[in-house]
């Protein structure tokens, strides 16, 4: 099974994000990493290929700084990388991003595309389906387990109150939940070998996308601080129990 694993470079999830004067998230010069949510997808791809053969292509879109995200996935064991990087894609919305990724993915035959459910920085959660529609394939989101059985994908999809068992025929896109598996750490050998693996850089034009197709359809027109929450206080350990019990009593819930 030939698998595409999507990899997004995100600013350090533990850090403090910042907006630039153009209201876009500051990405250049920021410390960053492979989106932790994407590590589960890379791991799932590795396990499927280890069990049934095939190759894994990592596809990413982002600035030059995004390269370490692709390299991390290669170091985990993916076979080749594609990074679409183009200044015109700065501020891309999900429609533009889906067009770019679908363009990069459809350059080679694939059986399965694995994405995270939502990114750690933008968390729109709509990209996998928009991409699936552009690729003209089936898709299952909120997947917490995936296996290939006789050429069919059998997945567990989270629901509001439990989970569904869902079948799906390749080619398909799946969006994997965080926690679906335990992503491996790259070995030292993996990190060394990753540097020799094929890595392709593409521009939007090389994907055949016109300037109109990569123009964002959403624009931030105003940003304001939310009204701060008033009246909060830190209480000492000696009075904490009484104070919290008082609060529950004041709320008439005990």
């Amino acid at each position: 099974m030939n698998i595409v694993a999507l990899a997004k470079w995100v600013p350090n999830p533990e850090g403090t994000p910042a907006l630039g004067s153009d209201y876009l998230l500051v990405r250049t010069g920021a410390e960053g990493a492979l989106d932790p949510g994407d590590e589960f997808g890379v791991e799932a791809a590795l396990r499927l290929v280890e069990a049934g053969g095939g190759e894994i292509t990592v596809v990413s879109m982002g600035p030059d700084e995004a390269l370490p995200a692709v390299q991390r996935a290669l170091a985990m064991g993916a076979h080749r990388g594609v990074l679409v990087t183009d200044p015109t894609l700065r501020g891309a919305d999900t429609l533009v991003t889906a067009r770019v990724l679908a363009g990069a993915i459809s350059r080679q035959p694939f059986d399965l595309v694995i994405a995270g459910v939502e990114s750690t920085d933008g968390y729109t959660g709509t990209l996998p389906l928009t991409m699936a529609e552009l690729l003209g394939v089936d898709a299952v989101t909120a997947v917490r387990h995936v296996e290939a059985v006789d050429g069919t994908l059998r997945v567990e999809r989270q629901t509001e109150s439990g989970y569904d068992v869902v079948t799906c025929r390749p080619p398909a896109v799946i969006a994997l939940t965080a926690g679906a598996n335990e992503p491996r750490y790259p070995s030292l050998k993996g990190i060394m070998v990753a540097k020799q693996k094929p890595l392709e850089r593409l521009s939007a034009e090389e994907l055949g996308l016109s300037p109109d197709e990569v123009a964002p359809t959403q624009r931030v027109v105003a940003v304001e601080d939310a009204p701060p929450k008033a009246g909060g206080e830190i209480v000492g350990a000696d009075e904490a129990v009484a104070r919290v019990a008082d609060l529950l009593a004041a709320a008439k819930v005990i």
Partner: protein, 322 residues
């Protein structure tokens, strides 16, 4: 005059409540309000939709929409859009609705905004970022309709005054075979005890700081002492496999607005904050004085939660007994 559609999801009790919130908002924007409901029970649900001001409802009772998530619904809605040309479609932020909206974005080449907390007009919506500390207004451009996924409980649901029954249009549910490749084979319910997180007056939530799944029993004890409290969790605790996904509160997961929210060992990442900051009173206990959740809290306690938890449980038992 703008035409606004609301994508109404169906549950065991008819239309799911987020649709009523969206319809109330849609009415307030002026213009014509219409709705789409697809799946078993849709026709019966049109009375409910009419009460909330829907003038026309596009419905189908066909089980194909329940058995094959996403693609058939997007196919039908896409066709309806091309025929009727609405200006704006509002969707609830569920997994299923998100899938339909995502497909429509690709199929129609129109813009889709996620995580909206307010809709300001047919081409403008608001969201909150950085854990709700900043409000961001977004202008939606490109061809119509604009698609907006709205976070649950962003608006109160209010029936329309003097509403007339909705005109019901039954839509053709003939779906091409090639769009039926995804099929639900089995459904599993993971029943939780106690009240639903969304309905509970008190929500007690645990995070990574609890250190392990067995510690959730301490939260259960506190919930029992308070009586009728629901227990939830941060994404970190769910990802660690300590409790099932149905516990999850936050961006991915449930939005709760209880009278009191008690957070134990939760740092308060943006992911979590959006799901709970609407609580009337917030108590946070964390050993890290820099945890962002302490800034949201009415009462913050910096310290050892394993000493605090049983002491609080005991104090509440005492007060309730007296």
């Amino acid at each position: 005059m703008a035409t606004i559609w609301v994508y109404a999801e169906l549950g065991p009790e008819g239309v799911r409540s987020p649709a009523f919130e969206l319809l109330t908002k849609a009415r307030s924007l002026g213009g014509r309000v219409e709705a789409i409901a697809l799946g078993p029970g849709a026709k019966e649900a049109t009375d409910q939709l009419g009460h909330y001001g829907v003038e026309r409802a596009f419905v189908s009772d066909d089980p194909v929409f329940a058995d094959h998530p996403g693609r058939p619904a997007a196919h039908v809605v896409g066709g309806l859009v091309q025929e009727h040309l609405p200006d704006l479609i509002l969707f609830p932020s569920s997994y299923d609705a998100r899938d339909v909206a995502g497909r429509l974005q690709g199929r129609l080449g129109v813009t889709l905004m996620s995580n909206a907390t307010d809709v300001l007009g047919p081409d403008r919506a608001r969201t909150e970022i950085f854990g709700g500390t900043k409000l961001v207004d977004v202008e939606l451009a490109g061809p119509s309709p604009r698609l907006v996924l709205v976070r649950p409980r962003s608006f109160a649901a209010e029936p329309a005054e003097g509403a007339a029954p909705a005109e019901v249009v039954t839509v053709d549910a003939a779906i091409p075979d090639e769009l039926l490749g995804v099929r639900i084979e089995e459904r599993h319910e993971e029943a939780a005890s106690g009240p639903r997180l969304e309905d509970a007056k008190v929500v007690i939530a645990g995070g990574r700081g609890l250190g392990g799944p067995e510690r959730f029993a301490m939260l259960d004890e506190l919930a029992a002492a308070i009586g009728g409290a629901a227990v939830g969790a941060s994404r970190a605790a769910v990802d660690a496999g300590w409790v099932p996904y149905s516990y999850q509160i936050g961006q991915t997961g449930k939005t709760v607005k209880p009278e009191v929210y008690l957070a134990f060992g939760i740092s308060g990442a943006l992911q979590h904050a959006v799901g709970m900051k609407g609580a009337k009173r917030i108590v946070a206990v964390n050993k890290d004085a820099d945890a962002p959740i302490l800034k949201l809290a009415d009462i913050g306690v910096v310290g050892d939660l394993f000493g605090f938890l049983p002491a609080l449980t005991e104090e509440i038992r005492k007060r309730r007994a007296s």
